[in-house]
């Protein structure tokens, strides 16, 4: 990986961390409901940097968390987070970011907003849940349908974050060429 990609991955990993640690961000379309922006950072890393560098940034972020840095939302960190019931979602972040980046580059949709929305929903929701739900079922000894129900409380928020990611991507690419 060339220097530029390494540094972009590192700075977006820092950005994912910073977005999880800053105080609340208001979302106009959700009537001021506060959200943690960390997953938003994961989706945006893929969409803005592409599949390879986006996934590298998430992988690097999780590596630094595993080393002991308390960078997850709420100040959690260390290898303990990979032993909890939500570890599958964290692993899913890597593949979700890659999928979002791949779809953003390859989908034959002209509108940046729509392309980013589809990429975010598939990468940021479907792929992340594809890893999160089975691991939750495994770790907690639940059946898949019950694990899905347990995780479904976060679904509305994750769909909202996908819409936000698409809006941010539209605004971002309005002033910049897509990153190659």
């Amino acid at each position: 990986m060339e220097t530029r990609s390494i540094v972009r991955a590192a700075l977006f990993a820092a950005l994912i961390a910073a977005l999880g640690l800053v105080p609340r961000i208001d979302v106009p379309i959700a009537a001021g409901v506060p959200i943690t922006a960390q997953t938003l950072g994961v989706i945006l890393a893929g969409i803005l940097l592409g599949a390879r560098v986006g996934a590298a940034s998430v992988l690097l972020f999780l590596f630094v968390v595993a080393l002991g840095a308390p960078l997850l939302s709420g100040g959690r960190g260390g290898i303990g987070v990979f032993f909890g019931p939500t570890a599958g979602y964290l692993i899913g972040w890597i593949f979700g970011s890659a999928a979002a980046g791949f779809l953003m580059q390859k989908l034959p949709i002209g509108s940046i907003f729509l392309r980013a929305l589809v990429a975010s929903l598939i990468g940021g929701v479907f792929v992340i849940y594809l890893f999160g739900i089975p691991y939750l079922a495994f770790a907690a000894g639940l059946t898949l349908d019950k694990a899905f129900l347990a995780g479904a409380v976060f679904l509305p928020g994750d769909i909202l974050k996908s819409i936000l990611a698409a809006l941010v991507a539209k605004s971002y690419f309005a002033s910049r060429a897509p990153i190659k």
Binding site: E2, R8, A10, A150
Partner: protein, 202 residues
């Protein structure tokens, strides 16, 4: 430096990082084999007492685990209804035991020691182009830039609040992200100018 590591030395600090990681892996495998809640409860009690004995700073970390409480509540309820109280208790105790055990390792192992301990595991990945030096630089950049990016975001937040009286909006994100990419490219140029990418395919 950003770290979840305890500043004061405890008896666990004296145990080598590699030994702690191997112990964690072994105990985790054993915990997965045990279904008896009393045995898991005993294991949990031992780890919990050790956690409490590490001092006030360590006890304060227990609050951070509260973010998992909704998950534990849902898991416990589902398990209670489907397989009964004993199995539900076993699963919750196993999860808590593994999380606390892993936290014990993280809290008592400095990041550099942790990096040294896992370096042999990463070495084979060099055939995929991942070399330890580049990974170290990337980790250092992440740690260096988290406070810098937070400060930049807070500055933008303050400016936004001064103009609107409200908290930061997602409207600030596109320009902020543009700034991050520009900063990344400048840092990459500076690193290359100092010979970081020399001898490698650009």
């Amino acid at each position: 430096m950003i770290s979840g590591h305890l500043a004061h030395r405890t008896w666990l600090h004296a145990v080598p990082a590699r030994g702690k990681l191997l112990g964690l892996a072994g105990l985790t495998c054993i915990a997965f084999w045990i279904d008896e809640p009393r045995l898991l409860g005993l294991g949990f009690a031992i780890v919990f007492v050790n956690y409490l004995c590490l001092g006030r700073e360590a006890r304060g970390r227990l609050k951070l685990l509260s973010s998992l409480a909704p998950f534990f509540a849902v898991i416990g309820l589902f398990q209670f209804w489907s397989v009964g109280g004993e199995a539900a208790a076993a699963i919750l105790l196993r999860l808590c035991l593994m999380i606390l055990l892993a936290d014990l390792v993280s809290m008592t192992t400095p990041m550099l020691d942790m990096m040294d301990a896992i370096e042999p595991v990463l070495r084979p990945l060099s055939i995929f182009g991942l070399d330890a030096m580049r990974l170290s630089v990337a980790v250092a950049l992440v740690i260096r830039f988290v406070p810098a990016l937070m400060e930049e975001w807070m500055t933008r937040n303050e400016a936004w609040r001064a103009r609107t009286g409200r908290n930061a909006s997602v409207r600030l994100l596109p320009a902020f992200l543009g700034g991050v990419v520009t900063l990344a490219d400048r840092v990459a140029e500076a690193l290359d100018a100092r010979g970081f990418g020399r001898g490698r395919k650009r």
